[in-house]
Amino acid sequence: MSLVTADNLEKTYQIGEITVKAIRGVNFSIEQASFVSFVGPSGSGKSTLLNMIGCLDPPTGGSLHVADQNIARLNRKQAARFRGEHIGFVFQDFNLIPVLTVFENVEYPLLMVQNWPEQKRKKQVNDLLEAVGMGDQANKYPGQISGGQKQRTAVARALVTNAKLVLADEPTANLDGETASRIINLMKKMRDELDTTFIFSTHDPRVMRNAEIIFTLEDGKLLQKNNGGAHV
C-alpha cells in the first residue's frame, strides 16, 4: 500500500504576468517505511514537491494522495489538521521555538496540536528524547545547544506524534559532515524502529548515499527513480 501517490502532478505559479511551471506532470508512489530522497539542482522543484506532499502548498494539476487523502481537496484548516496528525517536518534551519526548552519543543505538537493527556505526553516526549540522544539536554533552550543537537530535537519533534511521514528539506545543509551522518543514521534508526517514512530533498551526497530510493528532478520533471546506496 502506497503512503504517497502522485498522478500527473503539476504545480504552476503565477508571478505577475509570468507563469512558472514548477512541477510538470510528475508520477511516483512511495511505500510506507521508505527512506526516500528527492535530488536535483536548485530550481528543479524538490522543495515545491516536498511542500505539496506536506500539504503546505496545494497542487494546481493532477492528484496527490498522502495517507489515502487527496490533499488537493483540503482547505487551509483541514490541511493544518492533516499535517498535525500525519506529517512531521525537519527543517534545514532546525526551526525550534526559541522560548521553549528542548523538552517543550518536542512536546509542542502533542500539546498545541494533538492535545495528548499529560502523563502519556510526557512519556512519549521522554522516550523520543532518549531515542535521539537528547534525554540529558531536555531542560536546555535551543540557544544553549549545538546545531546537531538542535536537529536531533527537530527529528524528535517530527516523530513525536507518531507521524506516518517525515519530510526533511535539506536536513543536513547546516551541519558538519560528522553531525550530518549522525543525523541521517538517527533518522534511519527511527525509521527502522517506528516504520515512519522519511522523504528528503537534498544536495548532500551523504544523504543521497543513505537513501534507499532516489528520485531525480530537473526543471520540474521526474527524470529517474533509482535505488539509492542503502537498499532495504
Partner: protein, 415 residues
Amino acid sequence: MFNIIKIAARNLRRYQRRTILTSALITLGVVAVLLFISVTGSFKDMMVGQITDSMLGHLQIHRRGYLASIDNLPLDRNLNERQVAKVKNVLSNVDTVESFSMRIKLGAMFSNFTETTNIRLNAVIPEQEVKTVPLLQDRIIEGQKEDVLLQKGEILIPELIAKGMKVKVGDSIVLVANNKDGSVNGKTFVVGGVLEGISGPGGRDGVIHLNDARELLRIDGVEISEIAIRLKSMDDLPPVFSRLKAELATIKDKQDKPVFELHTWEKLTPFYNIAQMIDLMTFFIKVMLVAIVLVSIMNVMIMAVYERINEIGTISAIGTLPGKIMALFVTEGFLLGVLGTVVGTIISLISIAAVNAAEITFNFGRQSDLLLAPVIGQGDVITIGLIVIGISVLASLQPAFKAARMDPITALRHV
C-alpha cells in the same frame, strides 16, 4: 489555554526591553487616569457634598415661577398651608426621602445700631434643617452649639457681614424687612453664630428661626418659600425625581397648571457645570489612555509578528491551527495590557495614599484650606482596567489575524 499563556509570557520575556517600555507606557497612562479621576472625583464629590449637605439638599420644591424670581426673594410666591400639606403628603409616601426642611427665604436690612447693610436670610425649623443639610452646623465657625442649630430669637450671620459690620456672637442686631403687603417691620436678634461662606447660591445667607421670620413678616398661618429634600442615598436621585415630578404634576391650580416646580441640586447651582466639565475632561483623559494603549500595543504586536514570521511558519507547518496562532498573539497583547494595568493600579493606589498622607490643602473660590483627599472607587479601577485590557486585546487582533492568515511556505522562507 495555560500553554498559550505560558508561551505568550515567554515571548514577552524574550523581548524584555520592548515589553518593559510598552508596559511602562501603559502604566503611565493608567496612573495618569486613575490619579486624575481620584483627585477630580474627590474634589467634585466634596463640592457636591458641601453644596447639597450644607445648603441645597438633594431636591427642592417651590411654587411654580418662584425660581425664576429667586434673586428678588419674592414673598408673594410662597406656598400656602394647603399646598404645603399636599407636598408633605406626597413626601411622606416616598421611602427614600430621609428628611425635608421648610424654609422662608427673605431679604432684610441688617443693622448693628451704627451701620446697616442688606442680608439674605433662610428662615428654618432648626431640627428639620439639621436633618436635611447636616453639614450646615459644621459651617458655624463661631458660636457652634452641640445640641441645636439656633434658638428662637437668634441669628446665624455670614462671616463676611460679621467681619464687615464688626459683629460678634452674643451681640444684638436688628433686622428690618418688608412683608408681602409692603409694610415694614423690625425685630431684634442675638447673634447666635457666624457661618462660613461657601461657593454657590445661598452660600452667604444668614439663618433665623422660621417662627421669627413669621413674626418679622407678620405671616399668619403657614407660608413657605421652598422645601429642601434630603434622600437616603444620592443614587436614588433620578428615580425619586421622576416619581415626585410625576406626582406633583397632578396637583394643578385653577388655570389647570401645575402648582409646584421640582428641581434637583444640579439645576440649582452653577457648580453643576464645573462638575460636568470635570466629567468631560475625565472622558478625554480616558480617550487619550485608549489611544496610548491602542498605538503602543498595536505597534509592539506588529513588530512581534514581523520578527517571528519564520516561527509562525514553523508552528503552522507542524499543524497549529490558525485560531491557536491568533490566540498566541492576542494573549501577548492581553498580557501586556494586564501587566500595565496591574502595575499602574498599584502605583496609583500608592500615590493616592501618599497624597492623602501628605494632607495637601487647596483654595477654591472664597474657600481656603480645603483638604485634597483623593479616593478611587473599586468601580473606576475595574472600569479603567477593563478598558485597557480590552483595548490591548483589540489592538492585538489585526497583527494576530495577520499571523494566523500567513502562508506557511512564505513564512518559512522569510529570513
